[in-house]
Subunit: 298 residues, 2 copies
DNA sequence: TTATTTGATTTAGCAAAACTGGATCTGATT
DNA sequence: AATCAGATCCAGTTTTGCTAAATCAAATAA
């Protein structure tokens, strides 16, 4: 099995036909056909269904393509790392909006001191897009919350682990959290982000039935709503950072108290691992008490 | 870059000399030398230091070897998966002692129902050994706690996330957890396992100075010690499962309450992914309230 | 349906690569 | 210094992989 065969295979996948792929990799269609046959022979599997005319990829073929992507990416990463690309150049970063506004700018300043030749570039987007971009090599790393369905070629490591609080206006008399959730007006955080899902999951696990008075899609507005006595809600710790708000009481949320994590996704065996490790350390440091230092890689 | 070159490289590494490696892969020493040169040419790197006579592997060479291992393993996994090995055969499992005694036997019974042809084999060992065995392909998966330094070719996914409790004899008057830890006799859990480290880390993060009266290396004995009024300690939730112990009070430990996780390690792109996913679901289910369902793989 | 077009495959010939065997060279060992 | 083990170089040979042109098969148009 040769990497050229694998490259050819990916060329076929992206250009649909053997002939165009041949052009792309600088060979004749004949050679492409032969390479595919050799691969099929070696793996003892039919990659293409040739009864269709642009040959269709079989389910087995998809598995082979997945392998090809992994292997080629691994080889590319190794090459880049051996060339010593890691010190200079552009570090392609992505981030979800919330972290991009608070943490990242400060982290980047610190990084600048350590690697002056590094030009960081930042793209802000949704976590699913970011994850796909990291997997595809278009980003070196991205900052996203704990997320369902991170591909196995990626590694996510948290730098922040913070608790979620049930917040209630101080005007409301104290009581058991479950009791409060069942009886008081509740401001729901309605959004497509993982945090919303995390909160809803715990609510249903606790078996409470909330009495929704509002649905809001930004955490900041929810805090404001609670402060003004509109109702109670659940928010992550960072949302309460500011001048200790005297009109809000916080109670632990969940059993055990629910925490949410924010971390960095990167490709395993990423060539810039060292820089990303530093970025991780810087971010964890900036997060203070709730920062999470990263396991030593082996 | 051809897999045969990579295989040759690994043969050299394990047999020290080019000549023996040549024998192993069924070629002449000359061919081996040429393959290595071709690799070095393609990657533009010197893999061996030839001023030493059995040529010594250079630091760059080590990186190349790491890549070779990853790539060959990935290729092997793909082949095995395509051959359809996943349904029958032996599932090589490993586990740390604690889980092996409680959870695994029950999980295996349930697995038996689903895959009757599957013969599970179980090895009990320390987590670091288990992780190395999974990485080396000697185990399909292993059950270990959250662990520092899991290699990037492996994936660890938790099926249990349980809180840690500060436990005190009921005879002791109630007080603030920090206060208790600072003033009462403390039974230290002294062991090489991650759990001990997790507890100690949080203790020092809280800034408490414990007053140790005992060092014990099994959780069960610690609970007994607390029950008899010897001192206070910190244990995971499972340790308190049994008949609700009236002589023990539990208080939340850590800010936010510390949780420890137990999960399955497996190789990314493992050929038995489907079975392991089921095992994960079964284990999460057995863990009841603190079970963690696994993210959907993509 | 038939004709046409597009695109994969087959085959033969050729070029490049990879391998072998033996000679040669170089650290390591005594 | 002599010897040994083992890597490398080189010439010749085998194998592999490529091209080009002919052939074949599915899709599309008439």
């Amino acid at each position: 099995m040769d990497t050229r065969q694998l490259k050819t295979l990916l060329a076929i996948r992206s250009h649909g036909t053997f002939a165009q792929a041949a052009d792309l990799v600088g060979l004749t269609p004949s050679a492409v056909s032969q390479q595919v046959h050799a691969l099929e022979e070696e793996l003892r599997v039919t990659i293409f269904d040739r009864t269709k005319r642009p040959p269709r990829i079989t389910p087995d073929g998809l598995q082979v393509i997945e392998m090809a992507e992994d292997i080629l990416r691994r080889a590319e990463d190794a090459k880049a790392s051996l060339r010593g690309d890691q010190i200079a150049g552009t570090l392609m970063l992505g981030s979800v909006r919330s972290s991009a506004l608070n943490l990242l700018p400060r982290a980047m300043v610190q990084m600048r001191g350590r690697y002056p030749d590094l030009k960081p570039s930042l793209r802000v987007s949704l976590s699913s897009t970011l994850i796909a971009d990291v997997a595809g090599g278009r980003l070196d790393a991205a900052i996203v919350a704990e997320h369902l369905g991170i591909p196995s070629t990626l590694r996510w490591s948290p730098f922040l682990r913070e608790p979620l609080w049930l917040i209630v206006p101080r005007s409301m008399e104290a009581s058991d959290p479950i009791e409060l959730l069942n009886t008081r007006p509740y401001i729901r955080f309605r959004s497509a982000v993982p945090l919303a899902n995390l909160i809803d999951t715990e609510l249903s696990r606790l078996g409470v039935v909330t009495n929704d008075v509002a649905e809001i899609d930004t955490i900041g507005s929810i805090v404001t709503g609670v402060r003004q006595g509109l109702g109670i809600s659940v928010v992550p710790h960072v949302a309460l950072q500011e001048p200790e708000d005297l009109n809000i009481m916080r109670l632990t949320f969940g059993v055990p108290q629910v925490t949410r994590q924010i971390g960095i996704v990167e490709r395993t065996a990423a060539p810039r691992a060292e820089i990303i490790a530093l970025l991780h350390a810087v971010l964890a440091d900036l997060c203070g008490d709730y920062g999470v230092v990263r396991p030593i890689r082996s």
